[in-house]
């Protein structure tokens, strides 16, 4: 399979675009967190023009969807949008809705938009907007912030949500006995004072994205959890059996391994949008992509969250279904272990990046639902600069750089050497089909410039110790992960954290340290964006990572499900305004 990939790439000299995506590789049982997906990169043949035509068709399709949705909005009276059960499926179950321990995207989304009313809400650019807090004031010195809470938000058992709940939540998330996963959200929050039932004041230090943590961390009910010892909060059944929230939907039941069921909260304040349109909202886990696709076609579910690009193509062709996408915080990369030769040489790393055809990789793995990544900040983030270009695909320059670094093919065997040592490395990844496809393309690309790549697949739990343990027994690995809104990448790059688990590359730069430190404390967005630019350019110069592609999250839904306006905040940001065409209700 890998050999044939090289043949196809060398023979045709063209990009494995387009049609390749129609080749289904999904019918094989998977070995890691996600079922296998992606296309067969071995079917090359389409030209760049075809790929562009495809992107145009994609855009035309998206316009059509928007028009149909707005037509439906215009024709169905607001009163007729209430009712029905909306069923959404994803690959993973929501294991807990306990805000203190949940880390998965689905859980955080359900906390922020379905079950709870957080203190603030993120706008489309992640700017903090009033939510449970109807407003806030910051002292002139900037070290105290006072929140004024709404008086019409209630826990689903009827008890009002008060300043005491906010203070309680903060006290727990910063408690060392609680394994809260994002302590950085609140590390600038130093003390709390409840002024009255609806007013709470915090002492803070300067911090960028100061309020973001409050948008994604649900307020906890003190009247239910107040007596639970902090070290037992993580294992308390509140999050798994009987969550009581304060949001637009109330918890109804959970069938473990299958679904969570919520119902509309009729008492949700008018000022926050009032009762949601849907009577019931269901989240179902369907781990197998083919089964989710079938369930969507049979009407068992109304929407697939994070559909794979291959089935997205097929689903978009179905007139009863609609496929949309939005830029997600996920990107993928190759991390080079700069502690080892030849990756300690920035010129070699740059050459490797130049020699890898990232556009083809993005197209093969993501189809039209992704883009080439130029650095640590993607199109989903407010500080993204569309003018920031990735390094080009330029095998000739790559060859020249490698020559200059002393890696030449003196014996003309197709592999470069230096001091008698051939230029080659092992490329680790998990066995997911998408990674295998990427690895095959990287292997073929680098073979063209005389570098031997040996792809190595390791299941995730086995790969992690390999790349995080102090001896770092790896050359390079392929990985994808999701970013968080506050761009705190000191774990990845800081010179004083070189031995920390996440410092995969071992590459660091004192100037970058200063930039990253400043990025955590500058209060205004303009300065933050400027620092982010500097961060990007320092990393681009050194190429400790080869950035591959950004991922768009794909939503496939029945056409009768309306009002799904998803953006980088996530699929559920608009959930209270989702509605079903009257004839689409079950």
């Amino acid at each position: 399979m890998v050999a044939s990939a090289i043949e196809a790439r060398r023979g045709a000299g063209s990009r494995p675009f387009g049609r390749a995506l129609l080749v289904v590789a999904a019918f094989v049982a998977g070995c890691d967190s996600g079922p296998p997906r992606g296309a067969d990169p071995m079917r090359g043949g389409d030209s760049l023009a075809a790929a562009e035509a495809e992107l145009r068709a994609e855009r035309a399709y998206a316009d059509g969807v928007r028009q149909a949705d707005s037509a439906a909005h215009a024709s169905v009276d607001e009163r007729n949008r209430y009712g029905g059960t909306i069923v959404v499926s994803g690959r993973n179950d929501i294991q807990t809705l306990n805000p203190l321990v949940a880390t998965d995207m689905e859980s955080v989304q359900h906390q922020a938009y379905v079950l709870f009313t957080p203190l603030v809400r993120s706008g489309p650019d992640f700017e903090p907007l009033p939510w449970l807090a109807r407003d806030w004031t910051i002292d002139p010195e900037g070290d105290r912030i006072t929140f004024h809470l709404r008086d019409d938000v209630f826990w689903h058992d009827g008890v009002p949500v008060t300043a005491a709940d906010v203070a309680f939540t903060w006290e727990r998330v910063v408690d060392p006995a609680v394994p809260f996963f994002n302590p950085a959200y609140f590390d600038a929050w130093e003390a709390v004072e409840v002024l009255d039932e609806r007013t709470v004041r915090f002492t803070v230090r300067p911090r960028s994205n100061l309020l973001y943590g409050w948008a994604v961390t649900a307020i906890l009910p003190e009247h239910i959890l107040g007596d639970v010892p902090p070290d037992q909060l993580a294992t308390h059944p509140f999050g798994t059996v009987s969550p009581i929230g304060s949001g637009p939907f109330r918890f109804v039941e959970r069938v473990p391994g299958d679904r969570w069921v919520f119902e509309a909260n009729p008492d949700f304040p008018e000022g926050l949008g009032g009762r949601p349109y849907a009577d019931r909202l269901v989240y179902r886990q369907i781990p197998e992509d083919a089964a989710a696709e079938a369930a969507l076609r049979t009407g068992e579910i109304d929407m697939i969250v994070d559909a794979d690009p291959v089935s997205a193509r097929r689903l978009a062709a179905d007139s009863g279904l609609v496929v949309t996408s939005y830029p997600s915080a996920e990107y993928s990369l190759i991390a080079w272990n700069t502690r080892r030769e030849p990756f300690d040489d920035p010129e070699v790393r740059r050459a490797l990046t130049l020699a890898i055809d990232r556009e083809s990789i993005a197209r093969v793995v993501r189809g039209t639902y992704g883009s080439v990544s130029a650095g640590p900040v993607g199109p989903w983030h407010w500080s993204w600069d569309p003018g920031w270009e990735p390094l080009p695909f330029d095998p000739d320059s790559a060859g020249r750089l490698l020559d200059r670094a002393g890696w030449t093919d003196a014996d003309s065997n197709g592999v470069r050497e230096k001091d008698g040592k051939p230029l080659g490395f092992e490329l680790y990844s998990t066995p997911r089909q998408a990674w295998q496809n990427v690895a095959a393309i990287v292997q073929a690309n680098l073979a063209d410039v005389g570098v031997v790549v040996e792809p190595r697949a390791r299941e995730q739990a086995a790969l992690i110790p390999l790349v995080t343990s102090p001896d770092r027994r790896f050359d390079a690995f392929l990985v994808g992960w999701s970013r968080d809104v506050p761009l705190d990448d000191r774990d990845l790059w800081a010179c004083d954290r070189v031995d920390d688990p996440m410092h995969f590359t071992g590459w660091c730069l004192p100037e970058l340290d200063a930039v990253l430190d400043s990025m955590q404390v500058v209060p205004d967005r303009e300065s933050l964006a400027r620092l982010t630019r500097r961060y990007e350019s320092l990393v681009a110069d050194a190429q400790p990572y080869t950035f591959l592609y950004n991922v768009d999250t794909i939503l496939a839904r029945r056409a009768g499900l309306r009002g799904v306006e998803a953006d980088a905040r996530g699929t559920w940001a608009s959930v209270a305004h989702w509605w079903l065409d009257p004839e689409s209700r079950r």
Binding site: F27, A29, Q95, T103, P183, P256, E459, Q460, P501, M502
Partner: protein
């Protein structure tokens, strides 16, 4: 079959109880051996439970604290002894990938797997015995040849592939049947009346049962056909016909009963196969059972959950074998009439 002979020699019930008791006693070291082996293999595998939180935004200190709270910082033998001690006192531990006690997690999933496996077993042996016997009676007919071809075809078909094909069919040209393709209950299950609930689950059982059971049913069919053919060639069959019994009585009472004896022992062998197959089929059909639980738990390195689930699988397999032995003794007429 030691039990058969023991029963023939001894006095029925008492011998049976003594036999079952001794088999259960033998099972105890076996079970401890199984979980110990699983414990060792799990810890030999690279990675630990914190792998599921692999994310640059989670600080290493938090993960270290998680490791401590799971006892992963202690020496392996200490972890083992600690785990074994709580396990023997009925404390299965806490599942860190599910955020719930292991006993609760398994309590939710086990009945679902037993339901799927049980229904499957009934279907497998029901179809297998009926079709196999019918084929033997009509041996060498066109229908027999055709069924032989079909059963061999089904027998060699992988269950997960068949499952995916069924899902595809149910969502396209078999869509008019309205068969659910995922899960065990409809989303409005809790709002249904008792009868509707049963038919709801029955509907959800159809496709996974076919996917899980069809291959096994084909295997049993082949086996029963062979046994039947052998029995039909015996002298006592001629005797039965010579007595003037109807062909129906000859086949059902004399031939089938004798042919089923070895089939019963097959039951014990098929139990582990069904539970093993459930591991894949449950993922394909989103069935909330033990197979899927175990699959996720292994990937998440959720040690307590994997250990408890392996223990249960081992118990089921041992119990299945014991059941087969006991059934064998009970249906053997030589035993019954002793």
């Amino acid at each position: 079959m030691g039990l058969g002979r023991a029963l023939v020699a001894g006095s029925g019930v008492e011998t049976l109880i003594r036999y079952v008791g001794s088999r259960l006693l033998q099972a105890i070291p076996l079970l401890i051996g199984v979980v110990t082996l699983v414990f060792v293999i799990l810890h030999l595998a690279p990675g630990d439970p914190t792998a599921i939180w692999f994310n640059p935004s989670i600080p290493p200190e938090v993960l270290e604290r998680m490791r401590e709270s799971m006892g992963l910082d202690r020496p392996l033998y200490e972890q083992y002894l600690h785990w074994l001690k709580s396990f023997l006192t009925g404390d299965f531990g806490y599942s860190y990938s599910q955020f719930r006690p292991v006993s609760e997690v398994i309590g939710d999933a086990l009945p679902n797997t037993l339901l799927l496996g049980g229904v499957c077993l009934i279907v497998v042996f029901g179809i297998g015995m009926a079709v196999g016997a019918w084929q033997a009676v009509r041996r060498h007919s066109a229908a027999d040849s055709m069924l032989t071809f079909v059963t061999l075809f089904l027998y060699s078909m992988p269950g997960f592939w068949l499952g995916l094909m069924l899902i595809l069919a149910a969502s396209t040209w078999l869509g008019w049947l309205g068969l659910p393709v995922s899960g065990m209950t409809s989303v409005d299950h809790s709002l249904l009346g008792p009868l509707d609930r049963i038919s709801d689950i029955a509907g959800h059982l159809v496709l996974p049962t076919i996917a899980l059971g069809l291959g096994s049913a084909a295997g049993v069919t082949r086996y029963v056909r062979g046994e039947m053919l052998e029995v039909l060639g015996q002298d006592y069959m001629r005797t039965a016909r010579a007595k003037g019994l109807t062909e129906r009585t000859v086949i059902l009472r004399h031939a089938l009963r004798n042919a089923l004896l070895p089939v019963v022992s097959l039951l014990g062998l098929y139990l582990p196969l069904l539970f093993g197959g459930a591991l894949v089929i449950e993922v394909v059909f989103s069935w909330p059972g033990m197979g899927r639980l175990m699959y996720d738990a292994v990937l998440a390195r959720d040690y307590p959950l994997v250990l408890a689930a392996s223990f249960l699988f081992a118990v089921l397999v041992i119990a299945g074998n014991l059941l087969a032995d006991v059934l064998y003794a009970l249906v053997d007429p030589r035993v019954r009439h002793a």
